[in-house]
């Protein structure tokens, strides 16, 4: 184990995989100069042939990765800088990417990682702060992970690179400098394992990313009064429902915190799945704490529309009331 930051952990996974496998390369805008810090120093180690800067041509940039992946000889990472920029690749990302393998007879895998930073906190409004999530989950054929801790960051990135499918690896601006223990060398977290990050008996809170931190903060605060179990999906697709159901067997109460708009979001999907598979486990309706169904404003009003520890606590109290 070593101490490192979340962003160092992301980079460390990329480095380990690039050292181990020549077919991994990275393509994006201004990644050599590390406009976002996860690529800092990579070009010095791996050279300009493997850390590739492109023009502001998101279709071409995305296509560099998508096409190269299909040839079967490369495992690209395409870096969209801020995650919502991935929408700039339009239907090639939203439609083609997920359908390519399955529709064409499951013959040509598309091993690639779609990387982007996002999250509220910088007050830059919707474009920069928005976390693409439910739109991606809704599109079949795309995997999706989001790390909450440095160890998750390393293990999920390494698994994403090794996966033979398109995997979205998005991360949160606000966690960049968070420190934690991270296993040395190659380290993999299998995609599709919800982690019990904190044991508890009274209520389950499903939360990830910055929301995971909020959930932990609230859990610590309520310690003694309410015994909160905190689960982190880490991988949203594939999603491990079983660990959640096992937790609900114990707690019978659920709050879902999601840094995404509520409508047709991941929280709604989990509620639906619990409806379908765990209806009898619940002693009270589930509450979801999500971003309001409005474009995320910047300035000082972000906290008004995004989940905060206060809102999480209030939801916990309502569910247990």
């Amino acid at each position: 184990m070593v101490q490192m930051t979340y962003v160092e952990a992301i980079k460390s996974a990329i480095q380990e995989e690039m050292r181990a496998d020549d077919s991994v390369f990275m393509v994006g805008q201004d990644i050599r100069g590390a406009i976002y810090p996860h690529s800092k120093g990579l070009v010095e180690e791996f050279g300009e042939d493997r850390i590739v800067d492109t023009p502001m041509s998101e279709f071409g940039m995305f296509g560099t990765a998508f096409g190269a992946a299909m040839t079967g000889e490369y495992r690209p990472i395409v870096d969209f800088m801020f995650a919502a920029c991935s929408f700039c690749a339009g239907e090639t990302l939203m439609v083609q990417l997920g359908q390519q393998y399955f529709l064409h007879g499951s013959q040509t895998p598309v091993p690639m990682v779609i990387l982007g930073a996002c999250g509220t906190g910088k007050r830059l409004a919707n474009d920069h702060s928005y976390i693409p999530r439910a739109e991606i989950l809704h599109r079949p054929g795309l995997k999706y992970v989001f790390p909450s801790t440095p160890a998750d960051a390393k293990g999920l990135m390494a698994s994403a690179i090794r996966d033979n499918n398109p995997v979205f690896f998005l991360y949160h601006y606000d966690l960049l400098m968070d420190k934690g223990e991270v296993p040395e060398g190659q380290y993999y977290i299998p995609l599709g394992e919800t982690e019990v990050k904190r044991e508890g008996t009274d209520i389950t809170v499903l939360a990830n990313g910055l929301m995971y931190k909020h959930a932990m903060e609230v859990a610590e605060k309520l310690e003694g009064e309410i015994n909160v179990e905190v689960l982190d999906p880490r991988s949203f697709e594939p999603f491990d429902l079983d660990t959640l159901l096992a937790s609900l067997e114990k707690t019978n109460h659920l709050v879902i915190v999601d840094e995404d708009h509520a409508r047709c979001g991941f929280a709604a999907e989990v509620m639906a799945q619990v409806f379908e598979k765990g209806f009898d486990l619940l002693d009270a309706p589930i509450e979801r704490v999500c971003i309001e169904n409005m474009p995320i404003p910047g300035g000082y009003m972000e906290p008004t529309v995004v989940p905060t520890p206060e809102k999480v606590e209030a939801a916990i109290r309502r569910v247990l009331a």
Partner: protein, 327 residues
Amino acid sequence: MGLSKKLMTQLFTNLVRAYHFDELFARRLTRGELIGFYHPAAGHYAPGVAAGTVLEKEDYMWPHHRAHGVPHMLSKGCDIKYFLAEHTGKETGCCSGRTSWHWSYPEFGIFGMTGFIGGGFSQMVGYGWAAQKNGRKQVAMSCTGDGSFNNGRAHESMLMASNWKLPIIFLCENNGWAIHSRIEDMHPTEDIASLAPGLNIPAAIVDGQDVFACAEALQEAVKRARKGDGPTLIEAKTVRWREHDIGTPDLDGYRQRTKEELEALHDRDPLKIATQQVLETKLLTQAQIDKIHEDALAECDACEKFADESAIAEPTVEELRASVYAD
């Protein structure tokens, strides 16, 4: 002419095959023996035939949707029976019957397609990138219509190919139309090739009704690409004798295309032109030509037989669920 006799014979043969396959697909669609739709070549055969013929098996290719890529694919060596089986929903289809009209011949560097025009430009950069890096002197051939060059993806793809000197050949199969829209109304200059200088890409305009002229230009471009000299844009001026896809009215804007206009387009029939050329240059005798047609028709029959005798693709939902992700 810079083409070997062998290549010319291949080109002629592939042109004949493309012609007969186009008739076959059109006939089957009309009779309800093909799923979905069909965008007939109808005069627009030669550029695709030339593109497929000048490539090696391991080169990458994005076939044009016109004639559903059949001229391109058969010329590159793909066995069309798998595509016909796909187009009839059969288990033996090149996509296991999952699409009705998508191609997929990975061993031939053809990885699939999309219904969104211009979608291929994007991944083309990746094919070119891979071809450049892997050191095996592969090239990548992008075949699309005039209309697709009005899409921003064309700009990005050509620009990046030019920046990086990628071994990509951009073939513009310009038939003058995008569905009901005349190129004159949709593109601001006479030639699509006029885009090339602004992107520092060499370009050539060729007679798209002359399969040998197309092949010569494309062969030159392929050579440049293999040498590492970067992309080329080849614009082949061709025609469309029929409606965009079978059954759709054949309109000029919102008025019927005139008989006179359509008849004039028949003046330059690629098959007639090529036949005359191979006879005049004594490359082939009439008897040999007849044999090529016979063989092509026999191939068509065999493909139909294969497709028709294959089982309908009706996997269980469990089987389908298990194939969404690669292991």
